[in-house]
């Protein structure tokens, strides 16, 4: 984990540099159109945004080392609590999405590998590829249009916290978004599961298993699928990164108060501390997920040992 620190430091510095190079002054945005440039400049100074970049970075880094991500310029609230609130939405969305991906992607992939060439395989493989080809926002727009506005089955947008009135029932707000987000990723998992199942089924040890007279279902599950899982687990790191990316779009379409939309809006209003905070959190999260993937990998494959 320590070797990741330089990566993290480099990433945070790059982001810091990039976002401060973007033209735009948060003070001017805060004050609105009617404010004069002089007023904006004065506020900017008061916020310490006129200091040299390196000094600002050093200050920020020092605070981060003490667990303080700073204060949002726009919200005048601690960045940690701003992100924390967005994280509830994003994490729940990610968990629900992962649920769909696994619940749909894995069984369909397994079945289409087992019934290779059958109509089930043709439909699910073709369907998977088709879903992987749909822009998420387009899919989202139509899901809202059909299922919220048209049929009234699900809420269209927003997400009240599950600590709000309604409690866990509020998760229904995440149904359409998570399905939207799951569609292309489940499609990728279907293809991956199918491909690795087919790869594994060519292995000699699968022949050995069949030679024992095992039922084909047992061969498929205990021998083929169990080994295919290794490759699939490795891909979940990728899937996570893809999820975070696509969550930005999905949260925008469904107007979800998650960190994806937060970061887009923060970039638009140049809320530097929030952007930096989100990027830091996402990168740390990504590394954590990769670590988990490595752990999962090691527990799935006895040949891999963790150093």
């Amino acid at each position: 984990m320590l070797t990741l620190l330089p990566t993290l430091a480099a990433a945070s510095f790059l982001v810091f540099l990039f976002i401060h190079l973007i033209p735009g002054d948060p003070a001017a945005i805060l004050l609105g159109d009617a404010a004069t440039p002089e007023a904006a400049a004065a506020l900017s100074k008061e916020l310490g945004l006129d200091e040299p970049l390196l000094k600002q970075y050093a200050l920020w880094l020092g605070n981060v080392a003490q667990g303080d991500l700073g204060t949002s310029i726009f919200f005048q609230q601690p960045v940690l609590s701003v992100i924390g609130d967005g994280a509830e939405t994003s994490i729940l969305l990610a968990v629900m999405t992962m649920f769909w991906i696994i619940a749909f992607g894995v069984p369909v992939g397994v079945i289409s590998a087992i019934r290779r060439g059958s109509w089930i395989d043709q439909i699910s493989s073709g369907g998977a590829m088709l879903f992987a080809s749909v822009p998420t926002f387009w899919l989202g727009l139509y899901l809202i249009h059909i299922f919220s506005v048209g049929l009234g089955w699900f809420p269209s947008s927003g997400f009240p916290s599950i600590s709000d009135d309604g409690g866990l029932a509020n998760l229904r707000y995440l149904l359409l978004p998570s399905l939207t987000l799951a569609a292309p990723n489940a499609a990728l998992i279907i293809r991956l599961v199918r491909a690795s199942m087919l790869d594994v089924s060519r292995e000699d040890y699968v022949r050995t298993a069949r030679a024992k007279g095992l039922h084909p279902a047992r061969v498929a599950v205990r021998h083929v699928f169990r080994n295919a899982l290794i490759a699939v687990a490795a891909a979940f790191g990728f899937t996570f990164a893809a999820l975070v990316s696509e969550a930005v779009v999905t949260e925008t379409v469904f107007s979800l108060p998650g960190i994806g939309r937060l970061v887009v809006q923060s970039i638009l209003r140049r809320d530097y501390p929030v952007i930096q905070g989100v990027v830091l959190v996402v990168v740390v999260l990504y590394m954590a997920v990769n670590l988990l993937v490595d752990l999962a990998y090691a527990s799935l494959d006895p040949r891999v040992s963790l150093n």
């Binding site: 001017a28 805060l30 009617a34 506020l43 701003v82 727009l141 249009h145 919220s148 937060l262």
Partner: protein
């Protein structure tokens, strides 16, 4: 950081809850879909219309406007002016409580006015002419002017970037930086509850509210909070706002595109509410730098090339929602004037070309900045660029996001034209082009003369006449070009009771229930 609910429920309960789901919102909560997250709600410094839409439920000023846009007392109970027109005494309503339970006194008012005067966005307009503000009694304040100043009451009544009254304790030590949410203490019918970044701003009913008397008229008169809470939920995507209102997830959604008007107006499940006061686009010209600086003829050439009607048609859509009106304030308003409006929308490329040639235009590129954050800016700018090209202008259309545009427009060497829009204001002094420091920096001698006459006078008829002259000067020197009136509209759930046919400037939800 609250990630998970306090109440622990098992999955069984979750299943049951999902089953009974659907429109299970609390009746006492009013849900308003906003175009985005408001910046700070501090009315002194922030001029965003969205911020005011939320904030004027909790912050009140000394005056407010009635439906004819005339100032009426709100926290004030009356006022008197000295003979020389330089001393204003305002008496305050007694027994008005702040949300923290303290009674409002002249100390609070003086502290609020002073901070607004020093740091407020529009405070300088008034305070340039103010010698002192002092408490002349527990419920009386006196404003000493250096010279008579006509628009004082309009400025005190205009809450956007205006003098909201806060407790003196909050004002103490607050400067340019907006006050923090925990210090949002006002006197309004709703009080601040929470601002969950990215999720919503919530106001709750203030039970200790002391309402002004009188029949509701515009923002004036009796106010009563009917909802338990008001929630302002950022829904930046307009399609989602419309879908969400139709699906019953919001009670009210703002800023809906004109092209959807006919469809939504015909929809039984949606109520459309026009804004009574139009907003208008402005194309500013750079008076400090570049080819347009002081070249009024060239500016008039540009003005002559534009057919504003075509742009309004493309950018807004149905004809009921826009008016190709050259007067800065709409017809029917006391400030309406037709002076200069003959130049408003000539759409004449040939005469434009001729004037430009005479003005010495040699095909230098003219940098035109526009932002895509507001589709109607962008759409209009595209049409204008086309029209200007037909008249022989070499327009370099530069498309930025709003934040970049604001940054760039502050630098005189970065641009020649930029597009923005202006909300309705009850007094022309509040129009941005009147501010010498506003980008564009229109500071000609003619303007200065007229402006000082305009502010010195307190006689309404005289002021209207002077404004008409100023408008004529604007069409002559062209510091900015008005692009026409746009009547934005909002949509609401038909279940809401007490909404007027149209909103005045910002929608308000006291006296509204469902």
């Amino acid at each position: 950081m609250k990630l998970f609910p306090k109440q622990k429920r098992n999955l069984l309960a979750f299943g049951a809850a999902i089953a009974m789901a659907g429109g299970a919102a609390a009746d006492g909560t009013f849900r308003y879909a906003t175009v985005g997250e408001p910046p700070s709600l501090d009315q002194h410094v922030v001029t965003s219309d969205l911020a005011t839409t939320i904030a004027h439920h909790m912050f009140e000023g000394l005056y407010t406007f009635d439906s004819s846009n005339s100032p009426r007392p709100l926290l004030a109970s009356g006022d008197s002016m000295s003979e020389d027109g330089k001393s204003i005494t305002i008496s305050l309503r007694e027994g008005v409580l702040f949300h923290n339970g303290d009674e409002m006194t002249s100390t609070d008012v003086v502290a609020s006015l002073r901070r607004w005067g020093e740091h407020g966005s529009r405070g300088g307009l008034l305070f340039a002419n103010v010698d002192s503000v002092s408490a002349s009694g527990d419920h009386e304040v006196t404003i000493q002017l250096s010279a008579p100043f006509g628009p004082w009451k309009n400025l005190l009544a205009f809450i956007n970037g205006g003098p909201a009254i806060h407790p003196a304790s909050v004002m103490e030590g607050s400067g340019k930086e907006p006050i923090a949410p925990q210090d949002y203490i006002g006197t309004g019918p709703y009080m601040f509850s929470e601002w969950v970044a990215n999720r919503h701003v919530e106001l709750v009913r203030f039970d200790g509210y002391v309402s002004p008397e009188g029949t509701p008229d515009g923002y004036a008169g009796q106010r009563s909070a009917e909802f338990d809470s008001l929630r302002f939920i950022p829904v930046p995507d307009v399609g989602t706002r419309v879908a969400g209102l139709k699906a019953g997830d919001y009670d009210y959604a703002e800023s809906i595109p004109g092209d959807l008007y006919a469809e939504l107006d015909a929809d039984e499940s949606v109520r459309t509410i026009l804004n009574g006061s139009p907003i208008f686009g402005l194309v500013f010209m750079n008076s400090r730098h570049g080819p347009l600086m002081e070249n009024f003829a060239l500016r008039r050439a540009i003005q002559a090339a534009l057919d504003k009607t075509a742009a309004l048609h493309v950018a807004i859509g149905p004809e009921g929602l826009w008016r190709a009106n050259g007067s800065f304030l709409p017809e029917g308003n006391v400030w309406y004037s037709e002076n200069g409006t003959g130049q408003f929308s000539l759409g004449d490329p040939d005469s434009s070309r001729a004037i430009a040639e005479e003005a010495g235009y040699d095909g230098d590129p003219i940098k035109f900045m526009v932002s895509t954050n507001y589709p109607f800016h962008y759409d209009s700018a595209v049409v204008y660029t086309k029209q200007l090209a037909q008249a022989g202008f070499n327009i370099d259309l530069q498309v930025y996001d709003w934040a970049t545009l604001i940054q760039k427009r502050a630098q005189p060497d970065q641009w020649d034209l930029f597009f923005t829009h202006h909300g309705f204001v009850p007094d022309p002094i509040l129009i941005s082009v009147m501010n010498d420091n506003y980008p564009g920096w229109w500071t000609t001698k003619e303007k200065a003369d007229l402006k000082s006459r305009f502010t010195m006078s307190s006689d309404p008829a005289e002021r209207q006449a002077i404004w008409s002259e100023i408008q004529g000067l604007i069409y002559e020197q062209v510091p900015t070009m008005k692009t026409g009136d746009v009547y934005t509209y909002n949509i609401a759930s038909p279940a809401l009771k007490g909404l007027g046919e149209a909103t005045l400037i910002w929608p308000h939800f006291w006296n509204v229930s469902k």
